[in-house]
C-alpha cells in the first residue's frame, strides 16, 4: 500500500496551491470564509479566472475544453480550493449539463451550448424537483405536449438553486403519462426569457434567497431543445446523478472547517479556561477529527478504485452520508463555540455586525442552518441508504 500522491500528483498539487495563492481574489475568499452567500458577480469572476487557466470544466474531455484531469486531480483541486476558501464552481452548467450534452446531446447542441457555458454567456439552473416530486423524482408532473415544432410546457419546478440569475433551465418534463413513471420523461432545455415563465423566491431558514419556485404556463419550447430521445429522459437523469456523486465527501470543506473550529476554540475563554482545554468540547472535536481522518483515506480508496475501473462506485454514497454528517457536526461545533453572540442575524445590527462578531464569524449560525440542506439535496441521505441497500447489500 502507498497512501501518498505520485510525484506528478504532488507537482500538480503544488501547481494548484500556487494558482490559488496568485489568482484567487482576496475579497472573494474573505466572503466565502465568512460563510455568507456568494454573489453572482463573485461566481462569474471566479469562473472567468478558472477558464483563463483552462481549469473550469473539470469533468469535460479535453476536446470540449476540459483540462484532461482524472479523479485524483479533481480531488486535489477540490481539496485545495476549499482550504483556500475559493467559491464552489457552480455545478449546473459545468458539472451537470455539460457532461450530459457531451454524452447525449446532438452535434448542434454541443456546438451551441458548450462554448457558452465555458465563457459564462449562459447561467444554467436545474429543473428537477417539483412540489410533489422530491426524493421520488420519477413522479414529476410538469407536462410538455408536442405541438408542431414546439413543446408546450405547463407545470411547476421548485428548489431551483440560483434560478433568479439563470438564463436557461434544463428540465425533466413528462411527455407521456401512460406507462411506468420512469418512462415518459424527457430532458428539455428552456430559455428563461420565454413568455409564461415566472420565478418566485423561496426564503430559506437562515433568511437567504438561494432557491426558487419556477412556474411554467403555456411555455413554448422549440422541439430542437430536446436532449436525447423523447420519453427516455430518465436515462439522462440517471447519468447526471452519477456525475453528481464525485467529490461528494466534501473533505476539503471539512478540513478547512475543522481548522477554524480549532482556532476559534483556542482563542475563546469559557469558565476561566480556553474552550479547547475543556475536556467535553475537546472530546467532541476529537471525535469529528477522527471521522474526518478516516474519511480522507476512505475517499482516497474510492478515488483509487474510480481510477482503476473508470467510474466512481456505488460505495461513494457512503462518503456522501458520512461527509455531510461530518460537515454538519463541524458547523454545529463552530456555532456552539461562539456562544450567545452566534445568534446575530447577518446584517442584523443596524449599526453594523462588527459590534457583535468579527466578519468571519458572522455567518456561523446561518451556515449551520443553511447546511442542513446538504443531507437533503442530491438524493437525501436516506435515499443514499436505499441506493446502497439495493446495489451494495443486494437486499
Amino acid at each position: 500500500m502507498d497512501l501518498s500522491y505520485s510525484p506528478q500528483e504532488q507537482a500538480f498539487q503544488a501547481e494548484v496551491r500556487q494558482f490559488l495563492a496568485d489568482e484567487l481574489p482576496e475579497d472573494i475568499a474573505a466572503r466565502v470564509k465568512a460563510g455568507g452567500e456568494v454573489s453572482k458577480e463573485d461566481t462569474e469572476r471566479w469562473h472567468a479566472i478558472l477558464q483563463s487557466r483552462g481549469w473550469l470544466a473539470q469533468t469535460w474531455p479535453e476536446e470540449h475544453g476540459g483540462p484532461g484531469w482524472g479523479p485524483v486531480e479533481r480531488h486535489i483541486f477540490d481539496e485545495e480550493a476549499a482550504r483556500a476558501y475559493a467559491p464552489r464552481i457552480l455545478p449546473f452548467g459545468l458539472q451537470m449539463l455539460g457532461p450530459v450534452l457531451i454524452k447525449f446531446g446532438s452535434d448542434a447542441q454541443k456546438a451551441h451550448y458548450l462554448p457558452r457555458i465555458l465563457d459564462g454567456t449562459d447561467w444554467w439552473c436545474q429543473g428537477y424537483s417539483e412540489p410533489g416530486a422530491g426524493s421520488d423524482l420519477a413522479s414529476l408532473k410538469t407536462k410538455a405536449v408536442r405541438d408542431g415544432d414546439e413543446y408546450v410546457v405547463n407545470g411547476q419546478k421548485t428548489w431551483t438553486t440560483l434560478g433568479q440569475h439563470a438564463d436557461w433551465i434544463f428540465c425533466l418534463v413528462r411527455t407521456d403519462g401512460s406507462g411506468k413513471p420512469q418512462e415518459g420523461i424527457s430532458f428539455l432545455l428552456i430559455d428563461m426569457k420565454t413568455p409564461g415563465i415566472e420565478v418566485r423566491p423561496i426564503r430559506l431558514i437562515e433568511g437567504g434567497h438561494e432557491v426558487n419556485e419556477v412556474f411554467f404556463t403555456d411555455v413554448r419550447v422549440p422541439a430542437e431543445n430536446l436532449v436525447w430521445k423523447e420519453n427516455d429522459g430518465w436515462t439522462v437523469a440517471k447519468y447526471l446523478l452519477t456525475h453528481e456523486r464525485t467529490g461528494i465527501a466534501g473533505v476539503g470543506f471539512s478540513i478547512a472547517a475543522f481548522e477554524r473550529v480549532k482556532a476559534l476554540a483556542s482563542r475563546t475563554v469559557r469558565g476561566g479556561k480556553r474552550l479547547i482545554d475543556d475536556p467535553l468540547f475537546a472530546a467532541r472535536l476529537a471525535e469529528v477529527e477522527m471521522d474526518l481522518e478516516a474519511m480522507k483515506i476512505f475517499n482516497l480508496r474510492m478515488l483509487a478504485e474510480a481510477q482503476r475501473v473508470g467510474h466512481p462506485g456505488v460505495e461513494t454514497s457512503m462518503l456522501k452520508i458520512r461527509g455531510t454528517e461530518v460537515r454538519q457536526a463541524l458547523n454545529d461545533l463552530y456555532r456552539r463555540a461562539l456562544g450567545p453572540a452566534a445568534a446575530v442575524m447577518p446584517g442584523g445590527a443596524p449599526s453594523g455586525n462588527a459590534a457583535v462578531l468579527v466578519p468571519e464569524d458572522e455567518g456561523a449560525a446561518a451556515s449551520y442552518f443553511n447546511n442542513r440542506k446538504i443531507s437533503i439535496f442530491g438524493g437525501s441521505n436516506e435515499i443514499q441508504k436505499n441506493i446502497l441497500t439495493k446495489a451494495m447489500l443486494e437486499l
Binding site: M1, L285, M295
Partner: protein
C-alpha cells in the same frame, strides 16, 4: 496511491487464512478458547511453522516484516477467524527484544511464547504510572497480561533508578495465575515478589510505547477482520430469515442499519490503514479510539439484527460480538485514546 497489499503480504495473509480455516473452525475454536489452557498449543505450533511470527520484525532482526502493514495483514486474518492464540504478545515483544539486541529466534520460531506485562490494577494502560519496582529482582503485580496463560517468558515494565526499565522474567520463576476471558483466549495475573529477572533495557519508556502502539494497531486490524465477518454473517441472515412472510432484509428499518454498519466499518478500515502507514502515536491513538467505538457498535448491532439467535453460545456470532466489545479495553479504550488526542490541541 495504491491500496493493494504487496504480493508477499497477500500470500502471507492467504496462507494464514487457509491455515486458520483448517485448524480453527468455529467449533474447535470454541472448544479450546474457553477451557485451560485457553488456546491450542498444536495450532500455535502450526502457525509458527507457517512463519507468521517472522512478520513482526524486520529483516535486520532476522524477520521478514516489522512494518505496520505486516501487522495489518496478519491480524486482520486472526480477527476474521477469531483466533485465540497469543500472537499479540509476540507482536509487541519481538521489536522490544530486537531493540535490546536479544536473540530473537526462540520467539520467531514459536518455541518461546512471550507476553508483555505492563498493566497494573491501579494503572491500566499506563506504563509510566506503574508501581512495580525493579533492581536485581522485581517486586509488584501485573494484571490482565494477554497471553500470560500460555507464556514461557514475560517482558515486564518496572521502575528502576527513576526510569522505566524493561525486564525479562521466565514463567517458571514467577507466580502466574492464568485466567480465561469472556471472549475466549487467556490472560494472567503476574505476582512478582523478589522475582528473578533480567534487565533488558534500563531506559525503555519510548521503546515500550512503540511496542504498545504496534499492539494497538494489531488490535485495530483484528477488529476490522472480525467486523467484516460479522457484517457478512448478518447480511446473510437478513437474506435468509423470514418473518411476516418475507426476508427480514426487506424491511427498511433493518436495511438502513446495515448500511450504517457498513459505512462505519469502512471508516474503521480506512483509519487503520492510515495508522499502519504512519505508525506515529497520534495516528494510532485516533485509530484505536474510532475502531473501539465502531467495534462496539458493530457488535451490538449484529446481535440486535439477528435477534435471539445472536444471543446464543452455539451461534458463532456471539463470540465475535464479545471479542469486538472486549478488545476496546485492551491497550487503552476509546475514551483513553480520545483524551490523548485532545491533549495535543492544548
Amino acid at each position: 496511491m495504491n491500496f493493494e497489499m504487496t504480493d508477499d503480504r497477500r500470500m502471507l495473509a492467504d496462507s494464514l487464512s487457509k491455515l486458520l480455516g483448517d485448524r480453527y473452525g468455529i467449533e474447535h475454536r470454541t472448544s479450546v478458547a474457553y477451557d485451560p489452557p485457553f488456546h491450542d498449543i498444536e495450532g500455535w505450533k502450526s502457525l509458527a511453522e507457517l512463519g507468521i511470527l517472522y512478520a513482526f520484525v524486520s529483516e535486520d532482526s532476522g524477520g521478514m516484516g516489522g512494518g505496520g502493514f505486516d501487522l495489518l495483514a496478519v491480524f486482520e486474518q486472526l480477527g476474521a477467524a477469531l483466533c485465540p492464540e497469543p500472537l499479540l504478545g509476540a507482536a509487541m515483544a519481538a521489536p522490544l527484544l530486537a531493540e535490546a539486541g536479544e536473540e530473537l529466534e526462540p520467539l520467531l520460531s514459536g518455541e518461546a511464547i512471550y507476553a508483555l506485562a505492563v498493566d497494573e490494577p491501579e494503572a491500566p494502560w499506563d506504563a509510566e504510572g506503574g508501581a512495580t519496582e525493579g533492581g536485581d529482582t522485581l517486586t509488584g503485580r501485573k494484571t490482565a497480561v494477554y497471553g500470560g496463560n500460555a507464556a514461557t517468558h514475560f517482558l515486564v515494565s518496572a521502575r528502576r533508578e527513576g526510569k522505566l526499565a524493561l525486564y525479562e522474567v521466565k514463567a517458571e520463576d514467577a507466580a502466574v495465575t492464568p485466567w480465561g476471558m469472556i471472549d475466549g483466549g487467556g490472560a494472567a495475573e503476574l505476582m512478582l515478589d523478589g522475582t528473578a529477572a533480567r534487565c533488558l533495557l534500563p531506559d525503555a519508556g519510548p521503546a515500550i510505547e512503540r511496542a504498545l502502539d504496534g499492539g494497538r494497531l494489531a488490535l485495530c486490524a483484528e477488529a476490522v477482520g472480525a467486523m467484516d465477518w460479522c457484517y457478512a454473517t448478518t447480511l446473510n441472515y437478513l437474506k435468509s430469515r423470514k418473518q411476516f412472510g418475507r426476508e427480514i432484509g426487506k424491511f427498511q428499518a433493518l436495511q438502513h442499519r446495515m448500511v450504517e454498519m457498513k459505512t462505519a466499518i469502512e471508516q474503521a478500515r480506512s483509519i487503520t490503514i492510515a495508522a499502519a502507514d504512519r505508525m506515529d502515536w497520534r495516528s494510532v491513538a485516533m485509530a484505536k479510539s474510532l475502531v473501539g467505538r465502531v467495534a462496539r457498535k458493530v457488535s451490538e448491532e449484529s446481535i440486535q439484527l439477528h435477534g435471539g439467535i445472536g444471543m446464543t453460545w452455539e451461534y458463532p456470532l456471539s463470540h465475535y460480538a464479545k471479542r469486538l466489545v472486549m478488545l476496546d479495553a485492551q491497550l487503552g479504550d476509546a475514551d483513553f485514546h480520545t483524551a490523548r488526542v485532545t491533549a495535543t490541541y492544548a
